[in-house]
C-alpha cells in the first residue's frame, strides 16, 4: 500500500489541468507538470514563491487580500464569481483562465489546491461563434429586406426558405410554401425548364439572369430574371440550391411598349414620306392642270363662238375654216385629256377612304409632328372627343395634321408662351371641323392671302407646298381649309372633313 500522501501527489501530477497548491501565506507549495507547461516556469522557479507571480501585475496588489479572505472562510468553489480571470505566463503573456479552489485540511493547517484551466481556445471559439451568429443574422436581414425573391430549396426542389419579397412577388406566404415543391410556381409547360435548371445547378453550374416566366398564387404569369446557384456546406458538400428571382414584368412591358411605339412611329414616318412625295407630285400635277385648263377653257370658248359665227356665213371658204376649227378643237380636247390623265394617275390609288377615329389620327400626327421639338417645351392641349369618326384616307389626313402641327411648333420657336391646341367638333352639315392653333406671332394679312398658293413660303428652307397640298387633300375629301387668327394672336387653321357614317349604318 502506498502512502496516501504519495498517492495524492501522483494524482495531482497526472491531472490534465495545471494544479497549484498554496499555503496560508500564499506561497506556492506544490505544482504539477501541467503547470510547468502552461506557465513556462520550471517547478523550482515556482516553489516557495508567492502565488502572485502567476498573475498579471495589475492584480498583485488586490490579490493577497482576496486570498486571505478565502483562507478565513474556506470552501470549495470556482474563483472569480462572474469575473473574467487572467493568468500570466513566464514570458509575460496573459491568458484567460478558469480556476477552481479546493481548501484541504492538513496537519500543518489549511492549504488550497487550485485547478487552473487555460480557456484561450474556448474564448476564441465563443467569440467566433458570436461573430458567425451576428453574420448570419445580418445575412438573414439582407435576405429578408431584398427587393428580389430569394428562395432556398433542397436538391429535390423542396422549398427550405422563402423571403419576404418571394411572398410579395409570388403571393405565397412562407407557411404556404415551405416544405412544398418549388414547381408550384412554374407556369404550365415550364416544369421541364425548372428541372433542367435544377439539374444544371446540382452539377455545380450557375444560372445567371435567366429570363423566364413564373406563375403566382393568383394564377397570373410574370416575367422574371432568375439567378440560381448551388449551396455547399462547410465540408464542401452540395446541400441545396439558392434562387434569386427579380420581377421584370413591368420592365419587360415598358420595353416592349417602347419598341412597339418606336416601330409604329417609323412606320408612320415611312408612310408619310411616301405620301408626301406622291402629294408633292399630285400638287404639281394639280397646279399644272389648273394652269393649263384655264387657257384650254378659253380656247374652247373662242372656238365655239367662232364656229357659231361661221355657221351664219354664206361664204364657201367658211366651210373650210369650220373644218379647221373642228380639228383645232379636237387637238384642244386631246391636250385636256392628257392633263386629266396626269391628274388621274397621281390622284388615283392613293385615296383610300375609311372610317377613322379622329382622336387617334391627331395623336399619331402630334407624335410625328413634334419629333425633334421636345426641347421647345410645347404644351399640347387636346379638345378631342374619342367618339369622332371621319371618312378619310388616313395617311393623307395625317399629312395635313402633321403639316399643321409642325408649322405651329416652328411658329412658336422664339415665343415665350408655347401652346398648341388641336380641337375637333361636329358641324350642322355632317362635317367635322378640325382646328390647329398656336400661340406664335400669327400670320400677317399679306401672308394669309397667299398661304395656300403652291410654292409660296415664309420659311428659309421651305418649298411652299405643305399648305397647298394640305388644302388640296382636304378639298379632295369634300372639305375646305382656311387660316385665321387665334384668340391668342397666333395662327388658327381650320379644316373640315366628312363625318363617317356610324358603323351600324354601314352594316
Amino acid at each position: 500500500m502506498m502512502d496516501s500522501d504519495v498517492l495524492f501527489r501522483m494524482a495531482v501530477e497526472a491531472a490534465p489541468n495545471a494544479m497549484v497548491m498554496i499555503d496560508p501565506s500564499g506561497a506556492i507549495a506544490m505544482v504539477n507538470a501541467q503547470t510547468e507547461r502552461v506557465f513556462g516556469y520550471d517547478r523550482a522557479e515556482m516553489l516557495g514563491r508567492p502565488i502572485e507571480m502567476l498573475l498579471p501585475a495589475r492584480f498583485s496588489e488586490t490579490h493577497p487580500a482576496r486570498r486571505s479572505g478565502f483562507f478565513a472562510d474556506p470552501s470549495p468553489r470556482p474563483m472569480g464569481a462572474g469575473r473574467d480571470l487572467y493568468a500570466r505566463r513566464k514570458n509575460g503573456e496573459e491568458f484567460p483562465v478558469e480556476i477552481g479552489l479546493n481548501p484541504i485540511e492538513t496537519a500543518a493547517g489549511v492549504v488550497v489546491l487550485s485547478a487552473i484551466v487555460d480557456i484561450t481556445h474556448r474564448k476564441a471559439n465563443e467569440q467566433a461563434l458570436r461573430e458567425s451568429e451576428h453574420q448570419a443574422r445580418r445575412l438573414a436581414a439582407i435576405v429578408e429586406s431584398s427587393e428580389d425573391a430569394i428562395i432556398g430549396s433542397d436538391l429535390n426542389g423542396v422549398v427550405t426558405s422563402w423571403n419576404h419579397s418571394a411572398q410579395r412577388i409570388f403571393g405565397y406566404s412562407e407557411a404556404e410554401i415551405l416544405g412544398h415543391q418549388v414547381f408550384r410556381i412554374a407556369p404550365p409547360g415550364y416544369d421541364a425548364e425548372m428541372h433542367d435548371i435544377l439539374r444544371r445547378v446540382t452539377l455545380g453550374e450557375r444560372v445567371d439572369h435567366y429570363q423566364t416566366l413564373r406563375r403566382c398564387a393568383d394564377g397570373s404569369i410574370i416575367n422574371i430574371s432568375l439567378s440560381v446557384s448551388p449551396i455547399y456546406d462547410i465540408s464542401g458538400r452540395l446541400v441545396g440550391i439558392s434562387k434569386v428571382a427579380r420581377d421584370v414584368t413591368e420592365a419587360t412591358r415598358s420595353e416592349t411598349a417602347l419598341k412597339d411605339s418606336q416601330s409604329r412611329l417609323q412606320e408612320l414616318q415611312a408612310e408619310l414620306l411616301h405620301v408626301s412625295r406622291l402629294s408633292a407630285m399630285g400638287e404639281m400635277a394639280s397646279a399644272l392642270a389648273h394652269e393649263v385648263n384655264q387657257p384650254l377653257a378659253a380656247i374652247s370658248n373662242y372656238m365655239r363662238g367662232s364656229r357659231r359665227l361661221l355657221a351664219a356665213s354664206p361664204d364657201p371658204l367658211a366651210r373650210r375654216v369650220e373644218e379647221a376649227l373642228d380639228k383645232a378643237a379636237e387637238q384642244a380636247v386631246r391636250a385636256g385629256q392628257i392633263i386629266r390623265r396626269l391628274r388621274g394617275f397621281v390622284a388615283r390609288g392613293d385615296a383610300e377612304k375609311r372610317r377613322e377615329n379622329l382622336e387617334k389620327l391627331a395623336e399619331d400626327a402630334l407624335a410625328l409632328g413634334l419629333i425633334g421639338q421636345n426641347e421647345r417645351n410645347i404644351a399640347v392641349r387636346r379638345q378631342l372627343d374619342g367618339d369622332i369618326f371621319v371618312l378619310v384616307d388616313r395617311v393623307q389626313i395625317q399629312q395635313v395634321l402633321v403639316n399643321l402641327v409642325r408649322n405651329a411648333a416652328e411658329a412658336m420657336a422664339d415665343c415665350e408662351r408655347r401652346e398648341l391646341t388641336v380641337a375637333a367638333r361636329p358641324t350642322d352639315d355632317e362635317m367635322i371641323e378640325v382646328t390647329v392653333s398656336d400661340t406664335g406671332k400669327g400670320l400677317p394679312e399679306n401672308v394669309r392671302e397667299n398661304l395656300f398658293r403652291p410654292f409660296f413660303t415664309t420659311k428659309a428652307a421651305g418649298m411652299g407646298v405643305g399648305l397647298s397640298i394640305s388644302r388640296s387633300i382636304v378639298e379632295a375629301h369634300g372639305g375646305d381649309m382656311r387660316a385665321s387668327a387665334s384668340p391668342s394672336g397666333g395662327a388658327l387653321f381650320t379644316f373640315s372633313l366628312p363625318m363617317a357614317p356610324s358603323e351600324a349604318l354601314e352594316d
Binding site: A289, L296, A297, S300
Partner: protein, 130 residues
C-alpha cells in the same frame, strides 16, 4: 354680230382674264348681254343679277370662293340660276347645298357651256312661272 338679242344677262365671275374674255365672246355671239367680274366681291358690290339672268362662276377665286359668293347671294334673296365652273371633281353635293343649279367641269370641251346656261335659265323661268 348679235343677230338675235335675248332676254337675260350673263354674269361671269372668273379670276382668269383670258377665260373671262373668252366667255364674254362666246355669250355675246349667242346674243346675251354679258357682265364680267374678276372676283366675287366685285360682283356683290354691283347691282345684283335678276332671276331671269344667269351667273356663271368659277369655284376657285382668291379668298372668297365661288360657293361662298353663291351662299351670300342666296342670303340676299337673289334667285338667279347659277352654273359653277371648276376644274375640281366631286363638288356637286356641296354646290347644290350652296344653291347652285349646275356644275360644269373645265375645260368643258364635251359640254356646250351655252346650252347648259340656257337650260339653267329655262328651268328657273319654269320654276318662277305661276
Amino acid at each position: 354680230m348679235q343677230e338675235r338679242p335675248r332676254a337675260g344677262t350673263i354674269y361671269v365671275v372668273d379670276d382668269d382674264p383670258d377665260v373671262l374674255s373668252s366667255l364674254r365672246f362666246l355669250f355675246e355671239i349667242e346674243g346675251f348681254q354679258v357682265k364680267t367680274f374678276a372676283d366675287g366681291a366685285l360682283l356683290l358690290a354691283s347691282p345684283l343679277p335678276r332671276p331671269e339672268d344667269c351667273l356663271l362662276i368659277d369655284y376657285k377665286l382668291g379668298h372668297l370662293d365661288g360657293l361662298e359668293v353663291v351662299r351670300r347671294l342666296r342670303e340676299l334673296k337673289v334667285a338667279t340660276p347659277v352654273v359653277l365652273i371648276t376644274i375640281y371633281e366631286g363638288l356637286e353635293k356641296k354646290a347644290a347645298a350652296a344653291g347652285v343649279q349646275d356644275v360644269l367641269q373645265k375645260p368643258h370641251f364635251e359640254e356646250n357651256v351655252v346650252s347648259r346656261v340656257e337650260a339653267a335659265m329655262s328651268a328657273a323661268r319654269r320654276a318662277a312661272a305661276p
